[in-house]
């Protein structure tokens, strides 16, 4: 594993995007930062600007308003960037499947790297998803 891959996996800055979620997954993401889970010890930080992002944590079902914004946010992030679908709405639309203003699941819009199902997913599940993403990246860049 070279230095670049190591640095990328040891320092993950996450940008939190809500595509119209019910706020539950967002609260669970914030729970990961609390003293009980403390993901900063793995170098994971929540940052304010998408230009600093390494990971996009996307929550909520994609609706007509948020689809163009999601595409734009993905284009604004400096590559390499990973997309994580947090919660069942972002993974597969859940019960909003037949809703009039919900378009399509997130992976039809952006290349999703990790799916974290759950309504909402537990902080343990989110951390486990990030670990899987890191392992996938390491295997790819051996």
């Amino acid at each position: 594993m070279n230095l670049k891959t190591k640095a990328l996996t040891k320092s993950i800055w996450a940008f939190h995007v809500s595509a119209g979620s019910c706020n539950n997954c967002d609260i669970e993401i914030l729970d990961c930062l609390t003293p009980r889970f403390d993901i900063e010890r793995f170098g994971i930080q929540l940052i304010g600007s998408v230009r600093h992002a390494d990971v996009l944590l996307i929550t909520g079902a994609m609706n007509r308003k948020s689809v163009p914004l999601m595409k734009r946010i993905y284009e604004q992030a400096p590559k390499p960037v990973f997309v994580v679908a947090v919660g069942i709405c972002a993974c597969s639309q859940n019960m909003f499947k037949d809703s009039y203003n919900v378009c399509e699941p997130l992976d039809k819009i952006l290349p999703v790297d990790v799916y974290i199902p759950g309504c909402p997913p537990k902080p343990e599940a989110i951390i486990s998803g990030i670990v899987k993403m890191v392992n996938k990246f390491k295997d790819k860049n051996k």
């Binding site: 190591k6 320092s11 403390d38 900063e40 600093h52």
Partner: protein, 303 residues
């Protein structure tokens, strides 16, 4: 040759950046412990910098040429300031006359570079950040210079850092006098504002204007801004140690005094909420400047 070595390796670039990044880790770790968390490992800030160098650098469509130039200017200024302070501590013989004045000017450059870069990045939130940084500079420069004038008066007109150290070696640390103590408190608050630490982090307010001045920066330009901040995080506590508690500056004592001042700053950072920009200006132009002026007057009377 020696000057180049000083600039690039020992008290300059390599040493000050490494020391600054480690100080940044101390900051994150102490903050984590205060919040009852574990905190990141010691190499965390190094990993952040290497990662940023590996990432893509995006230049906004309407950005000016100074967008990529200003992080470099700020970084070179901060490294030069750290070098001059380091040389006067480690090799007092090769420091030059009036280096204190040069250091005051050089410590301004990172803030000016931040304003320049933010205002050339064509982002409304960045321009808000730039205007706040400008007001912040206007706020803290006056008390900072007044507190340094107090030091100069106390040492009898010495404007050379090694001369100030020599004066304290023969007459005891300046902080033990009334005016020196007041000037130290003022300079500590101004250093806090120069570093953009929490009560005065209006320019970068993460939760409010999303990293403010740095919002459009990515990749190596952002890494340069982070390195500038690391450099300042090493240079400012050392400068305060030299000016106010510079009696014994052998490496071990210097490290101890550096950590002492750094911990003071981190504690101020973690026990205060962020002020609004008008509150910051009122704070610096009101109580802090009056305190600094009082210190100067006391120093003139020899207290």
């Amino acid at each position: 040759m020696k000057a180049l070595f000083n600039y690039f390796i020992f008290p300059g670039f390599l040493f000050s950046v490494c020391a600054g990044l480690l100080a940044g880790w101390v900051d994150r770790k102490v903050t984590a412990r205060i919040q009852w968390r574990v905190g990141p490992p010691w190499y965390q800030n190094f990993a952040d910098i290497f990662k940023l160098f590996a990432k893509e650098t995006i230049i906004p469509e309407r950005a000016q040429a100074t967008f990529l130039l200003s992080p470099l200017i700020g970084f070179l200024g901060a490294v030069l300031a750290a070098t001059i302070i380091g040389v006067s501590v480690f090799y007092p013989a090769s420091s030059f006359v009036a280096d204190l004045i040069v250091v005051i000017y050089l410590l301004m450059i990172p803030a000016v570079a931040l304003i320049l870069g933010a205002s050339s990045s064509a982002n409304p939130l960045a321009s808000v950040g730039a205007s706040r940084e400008m007001k912040l500079v206007l706020g803290y420069e006056l008390p900072f210079i007044l507190s340094i004038i107090t030091v100069i008066i106390k040492t009898g007109g010495v404007i050379r850092l090694s001369g100030i150290i020599n004066h304290q070696v023969s007459f005891g640390p300046l902080i033990y006098s009334f005016s020196g103590g007041i000037a130290f408190v003022v300079a500590l608050l101004c250093a806090q504002a120069k570093l953009g630490f929490v009560p005065f982090d209006v320019a970068e307010a993460e939760q409010e204007i999303m990293a403010g001045a740095l919002i459009e920066y990515s990749g190596f330009a952002l890494a340069l801004f982070k390195l500038t901040k690391a450099c300042l995080l090493y240079a400012l506590p050392v400068l305060l140690a030299v000016l106010f508690i510079g009696k014994d500056l052998s490496p071990l004592f210097l490290a101890f005094k550096f950590l002492l001042i750094l911990t003071l700053m981190i504690l101020i950072k973690n026990t205060n909420p962020r002020l609004r920009i008008d509150q910051v200006l009122r704070f610096f132009w009101g109580p802090v400047t009056i305190l600094a002026a009082l210190g100067t007057v006391l120093a003139l009377f020899g207290k």
